[in-house]
Every structure is written in structure tokens, then in C-alpha cells.
Amino acid sequence: MPKRKLDPLPSAAFQILLALAGEDLHGYGIMRQVAAQTEGRLRLGPGTLYSSIQTLLEAKLIEELEPREDAALGTGRRRYYRLTTAGRKLARAEADRLADLLRVARTKKILRGEYV
């Protein structure tokens, strides 16, 4: 049976890790955070969001916290998620990889300087 793969890291999973880097969030919070950090280009639908969360949980890159009320939204208890040490490490490694790519792209004059 195929297992969900995190290598290479799917962009949705990477965005979730980045979203959780700042604070612990529930599902909707993650979605909003991802939308914010991509300037609205990536809005995770429920299916993609929760299947990615499930994969990351199985890989122990994030962990689930005790459900609690969100003061701002206020409609019932929600499951919150937190980045684990392994998750943080993986996110950093992915960022490094992308940085390397970026450096290559810059030497090839594909990117203009001011963008980075």
C-alpha cells in the first residue's frame, strides 16, 4: 500500500509548517495564515488541508493539542496544531533548499536583485 509521501515536501505541507512556525493554530487559522503569507494566492480547501494535516501528524512533524475555544470565532471547541522540533527542522531544511535554488536562479540572471 502506498504511503503518503513528504519527500519531496508538497507545497501545501510546507505552507502549513510555515504557518505553524509562529503560533499554534486550528484548521481555519492555518488556512487563513497560509492565505495571508501567500498574499491570497493559496487558499487551502478542507480536503487538502486536513489530508495534509493528517500526513504531517503521522510523520510527527506537527502535533495535535487539546481542543479549546477560539475567543475570536467563538463557535465550539477546535483542534489546535503545533509544530514539533522535527517539523521545524524539516521546514528549515526545505527553506535552505529553496534558498540554494534561489541562489542558482540569481546567478543565472533569472531573478532581478531587488526581489531577494
Binding site: P2, Y28, T48, L49, Q54, G76
Partner: protein, 521 residues
């Protein structure tokens, strides 16, 4: 309304996913729906959701299978469940076990295939029941006066018969094993039975006794009692376990004989010939081996059936010399067809010159007819000698009495011989017996000769004779030669002719066929 619609759409996801995240997904929808108002936002929301569904539903199903299975297994405890293997490689132990199991299965299969094949062939070609039928018809025949005449070494006409017979009745002394059997040392046993022919003599075959055994069935001196039956059965089981090549089958046959005795199955057999036939059938029921035989002799058996005398040997040689080595007729028939009437296969030590001369005389014939209608057998060596003329290369010649060896091949080509590619016809009758049947059987199987006449007598004489008591003996095959044609040979069933005509008409039929064949060329 739209929430209900999305809740409905959520059912597209696998149940496992819905159980874990269905509520969260719905809540996410509610949150977004609450925050994203206005037509463009709503439109964008639904576009997002549909795109998400299109991508995630198939993906969830792709990944969901193991969860589904384990979920269903968990839901019904106590019922049979499937455990799905993970991606992990199987343990080394499992691989070793799988390998061992495959090898065992393969071996079992091939073994069964071998065994099964053999049994089928045996049954097909000669079931014990059929063979008994043929025995039954043969023996009374040989008890008749006409057959008794044939059964003596009949090439020779009356005078020589008497000479031979009286010679055989002379006192015994030891000679070499190659000798024709003159094993009937009793002065009263004047008739040299057909099977006393040299072919089997060396092995002391049991078949020699049979015409004698059946000559007076039911006579008072043939009556036997339980003690004698027990003695014979004890002797037979011991001989089987000592001499039969397949130990397992020997053990089973011995057990069967003892079981039949205990059950009282043998009690009805009040006389010798019937009891011998009964024991033979009991053994063959287990082994399907037509070379196994128990025989009864009305006259007491000599102490040592292999005991042959120089006098008997000398008598046999005299007989051969006086009778042209049983070459009854050698001539060329119209159409340059060679005709050889041979009434036995005599020992080469005495008759090589005669045999070579006969074949030389026929060397330029266009076709060859062997008349074996009165041939009761003889030396395997001589059978092979004649067969050697019929091939231009050594050919395997099956002989049920000899283990396969270099002697199993004909001595072809014979220098100067022109007969290797000429058509060959063999005339047979129901009296054609033993070594003569070997000649017929092998040449028929090799498609080298056309057999014309009657089905032959059915004496393979593969058994080695063992004396059980004064009247009973058992023939047990010890050689296991390779029969390339089928597991069963002509034992008990005879060799069937290619062209079935009464023996008396066989020569005319053969001449007609030979001429027709020669005209075709």
C-alpha cells in the same frame, strides 16, 4: 442551504477521513462562509471547494484502502479479518519458509505425476483381470493333446521329440547357467514343456511349470489343506520381501497375502492350481506386476530348479545338431522373398554357423518372412543375433529379463548384410511364445516388422523362480530393464498382430502383402 450542500458533498470522502475530519471540514466551511460574504467571495469560495474536492477525493481514496480495511476488521470483532501487508519487505524467515514450501510443492507434484502416469499406463494396457482371462483360455489349450504336442520342443517331429525327452529324463548333474533347462529331472516327467526352452531356462522361470500345473486340475493329489496353504503363504511373503525390487510394494503384498489368509479368503481354494491362481491375483491386485506369479506343479519340484546336468546339455546339443538347429526351412519364395521358419532361438554356441549360413542364403532377398508360428522361445542372445541383421545401426532391444546394459543393443550393422532396409514380415500364432514374443514385440514397437497371424502366447518369463515347497513355486522379477514403449509388455496378454488372420493363412497373407509392397517400389 449551502452548508447542507457542502455536508452532502463531504460524503464523497472516504468514511475514515469523514470520521476524523468531517466535522472540522464543515466548521472550516462555516468559518469561511461567515467571513467571506458577497457574491465574488462566495463564488471564489465554491470554486476553491470544488477544486479541492476534485483533487482530494481521489487522493484520499488512493491512500484510504488500508484504513478502510482495518476499520471494517475492527468493526466486527470475532469475524474473519484481513491484515494488509505494509510496504515493508517480508521477514527473511518468511522468505525461507516460502522457498521451502515451493520446493516441497514442486517435488510432490512431479512425484505424483510420475506415479500417476505409470499406473494409468499399466491399467490401460493390461489389467490383471484381462490377463487372467487370457491365462484361463491359454492353459486349457495347452492341456489338450494337440497343444501338448506343440508344447514339447516341437520342431523336430516325433522321433527327435522322444530322443530329447528321454535325454531330459536322464539323471542330473551340474552345468553352467547358460544351458537350456532340463529341469524336470523326474523320470516320469517325460514331456519337456514348451517353456523348458532355453530362453528362460537360465533363470529357472516359473512359467515352465504352468502347463504341468494345469494339465490335471482337480485331480485328487492336487488337494491341499490349510497347513499347506499357510506354508506356501509364509514362503511367498518371505521370498517377496527378500527378492522383490520395490521394498514398499513387497511389504504391502506380503501384508495383503496374510490378511487374506486370516480373513479366510483362501479357504475355498481346495486344490493347488486354484490356490496358485488366487495368490497370483492377490499379489497383482497390489502391484499390478504381471511378471509376478505363483505356480503349482502336480509332480514334486526338484530340489534345485537351476540344477542342470552335462547330460542334459549334451542331449540338447545333440538335438540341435540333429535338427538343423531348429531351422525348419530356409528358402526363397516367388518374387525373391526370403522365408525362414525358425522353431526356436537355439544357443549360438552350437548353432552360430547354421544361423549365419541361413542369413547368408537369404541375404539377397527383397523381403523377409520369419515364420515363428511354432517357435516357443530360446536364447535372448540369439533373438538379438537375428535382430542385428535388420538394422544398420545398433538398436535398443527390450528384454524383460535382463537389466539394461550394453548387451541390450543389437550388434548392427552386420558386415556384408543387405537386409537392413528390406521389408520384414513375422508369422505368429497363439503358440508363439517367450523369446519368440520378444522378437515380435520389439520389432513391432520399433516398426521394423509387420506381424501377421494370431496374438501370441503371452509369456514374458521375467520372474526368477523360487521353490516354496514340493509343489509350489513363485516367480519374482528381479531385473528392472527400461521398457521404452509402456510399463507393461506382452506378459499374460501376448503380442497382437498387425494383420489378424488364422495362423494357417498367415504365410499366404504375408506373401501377398510382400509382393504388393515390392511392386509399389
Amino acid at each position: 442551504m449551502s452548508e447542507k450542500l457542502y455536508a452532502f458533498l463531504l460524503r464523497l470522502f472516504p468514511s475514515r477521513f469523514r470520521q476524523s475530519y468531517g466535522e472540522d471540514a464543515l466548521q472550516l466551511f462555516r468559518d469561511r462562509a461567515r467571513h467571506e460574504t458577497g457574491l465574488p467571495s462566495r463564488l471564489r469560495l465554491w470554486l476553491d471547494l470544488l477544486a479541492d474536492l476534485a483533487i482530494s477525493v481521489p487522493r484520499e481514496y488512493f491512500y484510504a484502502q488500508p484504513e478502510l480495511l482495518s476499520a471494517s476488521a475492527g468493526q466486527t470483532p470475532g469475524s474473519p479479518s484481513f491484515h494488509v501487508l505494509d510496504n515493508d519487505a517480508p521477514r527473511p524467515g518468511a522468505l525461507v519458509f516460502g522457498f521451502a514450501l515451493s520446493v516441497a510443492a514442486l517435488l510432490t507434484f512431479s512425484t505424483l505425476l510420475n506415479q500417476g502416469g505409470q499406473h494409468r499406463a499399466l491399467r490401460a494396457s493390461a489389467s490383471p483381470r484381462q490377463s487372467f482371462a487370457s491365462r484361463a483360455t491359454r492353459h486349457p489349450a495347452s492341456a489338450s493333446p494337440q497343444a501338448a504336442d506343440d508344447s514339447s520342443f516341437s520342431v523336430a517331429g516325433e522321433t527327435s521329440q522322444q530322443a530329447f525327452a528321454s535325454a531330459s529324463a536322464s539323471p542330473a548333474a551340474t552345468t553352467n547357467a547358460e544351458l537350456p533347462s532340463m529341469q524336470n529331472a523326474q523320470p516320469t516327467a517325460v514331456v519337456v514343456t514348451p517353456s523348458t526352452s532355453p530362453f528362460f531356462a537360465a533363470r529357472g522361470s516359473l512359467e515352465n511349470l504352468q502347463p504341468d500345473a494345469s494339465s490335471k486340475p482337480g485331480a485328487t493329489q492336487d488337494l491341499i489343506d490349510a497347513f499347506e496353504r499357510h506354508r506356501v503363504i509364509t514362503g511367498a511373503t518371505a521370498a517377496l520381501q527378500q527378492h522383490y525390487p520395490d521394498r514398499e510394494i513387497a511389504r504391502k503384498m506380503a501384508e495383503s497375502l496374510i490378511t487374506h489368509e486370516r480373513r479366510g479368503d483362501d479357504n475355498a481354494a481346495a486344490n493347488g492350481p486354484i490356490f496358485a491362481t488366487l495368490l497370483t491375483r492377490q499379489m497383482r491386485d497390489i502391484s499390478n506386476d504381471l511378471h509376478l506369479d505363483v505356480a503349482y506343479s502336480g509332480t514334486p519340484l526338484p530340489d534345485n530348479p537351476d540344477h542342470r546336468t552335462p547330460q542334459a546339455q549334451a542331449a540338447y546339443r545333440d538335438f540341435l545338431l540333429q535338427n538343423n538347429c531348429t531351422f525348419a526351412k530356409v528358402e526363397l519364395l516367388p518374387g525373391n522373398i526370403g522365408y525362414l521358419r525358425l522353431d526356436s532361438f537355439p544357443e549360438l554356441a552350437t548353432c552360430r554357423k547354421t544361423a549365419v549360413a541361413a542369413m547368408h542364403q537369404l541375404n539377397r532377398a527383397n523381403a523377409l518372412i520369419f515364420d515363428l508360428r511354432d517357435n516357443r522361445g530360446g536364447e535372448p542372445q540369439t533373438v538379438s543375433f537375428f535382430a542385428s541383421y535388420l538394422f544398420d545401426h545398433p538398436e535398443y532391444f527390450y528384454n524383460p529379463r535382463e537389466n539394461t546394459s550394453s548387451a541390450s543393443w543389437t550388434d548392427s550393422p552386420v558386415p556384408g548384410n543387405l537386409l537392413a532396409d528390406k521389408p520384414v514380415y513375422i508369422l505368429t500364432s497363439s503358440h508363439t511364445f517367450s523369446g519368440a514374443e520378444q522378437f515380435c514385440y520389439d520389432l513391432k514397437m520399433l516398426k521394423r516388422a509387420t506381424l501377421i497371424g494370431e496374438t501370441t502366447g503371452g509369456g514374458a518369463h521375467a520372474g526368477v523362480f523360487h521353490r516354496l515347497d514340493d509343489h509350489f513355486g513363485i516367480g519374482i522379477p528381479e531385473a528392472t530393464p527400461i521398457n521404452p514403449y509402456s510399463p507393461a509388455d506382452w506378459a499374460e496378454v501376448g503380442v497382437r498382430p498387425d494383420v489378424k488372420v488364422p495362423a494357417a493363412d498367415a504365410l499366404a497373407t504375408a506373401q501377398k502383402l510382400a509382393l504388393a509392397k515390392l511392386q509399389q517400389k
